[in-house]
Symmetry: C2
Subunit: 240 residues, 2 copies
């Protein structure tokens, strides 16, 4: 194990939802509506994970993803036939990495003091499908030493249990939480990691500023505007 563990979130961090919007546009012939359905789908997907956590219940992320799609379709008054719904679900298995991912992973491979893992709400199957279907990710498979899925804990981010499980998987104890650096585009994930004492780099591609106030005193350790920005954060951390 290196001195720093980088734990990469995938949905909204390594993988973009543009493929979903693209497929919805094909079915709906309406760009604005396609974007609304995609956003609503993602919103319910996350809301469901938070609510399941709250209720002490668990359904796999595959089930959550399907259920939240059906809710989003109802909510936006959008009719799709079963075949189209299955097609959208399949799209979720071949989401495309953001354009900045390949270069960032190439650069990060150079750091021998860094261990990288994937850390996701997705099931192992969903994660594997996305990695296999992406040329960039499949070529960098060895860059990721491990895949940590919340499915093994049966709770979702930002439950402390899933970050603690991540720590266990990468061989870190309570006093070493700061060695783990979450990399995520999702503010709730950043706050969740900081809540248990991890460091967290927020990938703010939209260059919005940090406005999340669920825990108003919690801020990301660092903010980058593209994934390659992590290189400088690590160099500084390792005093290189």
């Amino acid at each position: 194990m290196g001195e720093i563990v980088l734990a990469f979130d995938i949905y909204g961090t390594l993988l973009s939802f543009e493929a979903v919007i693209h497929e919805l546009k094909r079915f709906l012939n309406d760009d604005a509506r396609a974007r609304t359905v995609a956003q609503t789908w993602r919103r319910y997907q996350l809301e469901y994970t938070f609510r399941l956590n709250s209720m002490g219940r668990y359904l796999t992320f595959l089930e959550v993803t399907r259920n939240s799609l059906l809710h989003a379709l109802d909510d936006t008054g959008t009719s799709l036939v079963d075949k189209e719904i299955e097609h959208l679900m399949a799209t979720y298995n071949r989401l495309i990495p953001f354009p900045d991912v390949e270069d960032a992973l190439n650069q990060l491979s150079a750091f021998s003091q860094v261990t990288s893992v994937i850390f996701s709400n997705g099931t192992r199957g969903m994660i594997a499908n996305c990695v296999e279907s992406s040329t960039v990710l499949s070529q960098h498979k060895s860059f990721f030493r491990d895949v940590v899925s919340v499915d093994e804990v049966k709770q979702y981010k930002p439950a402390p249990a899933v970050y603690n499980y991540l720590a266990k998987c990468v061989g870190r104890n309570q006093s070493e939480m700061k060695d783990i650096w979450l990399v995520s585009g999702n503010p709730f994930d950043i706050a969740g990691a900081r809540n248990v004492g991890m460091n967290a780099i927020w990938v703010d591609r939209a260059e919005a500023s940090w406005v999340d106030k669920a825990l108003p005193d919690v801020k990301p350790t660092a903010i980058v505007h593209h994934l390659g920005g992590i290189v400088d954060v690590i160099k500084q951390q390792l005093s290189l």
Copy 2:
């Protein structure tokens, strides 16, 4: 205690958010934006409660309400001065009941086999302010035998602990959960109550159908389109 306990949620069930939209319109001179800010505020307010539950953290609903307002303003690119923000927060202490509340409470008062309580995410102070500032609610104060605030549990709906606390407050044990009927306009609250074995009446004023699928097998016990609809549900339940 009667044979049935009706536990009334307040925000979005007895109390409407129209007063918030009204005040926002005054500040923003833009009806559509006022509605968007109000919706975004409410959305973050609930998201924060679910996320705090998930993180095992607690801030009072007053703090959550303020923090989510600031997030909603940032998110919608809306600038308000401190005085306006304080004014909006104060509006939350004098939300106005939906027009169907007075008649429903009058009708429900006739049932001697029914005990009614208020059951809310709000602090006791917030609930008391809303009850006092509303003529309808203050005149019906004796209709509510108790006020149950999640603040006493330091978790938010839909955590099982808060519904179990409600049960304890109304003197019901695990085998008597079905005697408690939650009345709520909020689907996450309905699912939360059903999750612990309570009955739950969804107040679906917008006449949307039940499309929530966080727990896809969970449905409301009954759906009413106005608060007075509860009367028939109770009559049926009591075989009157």
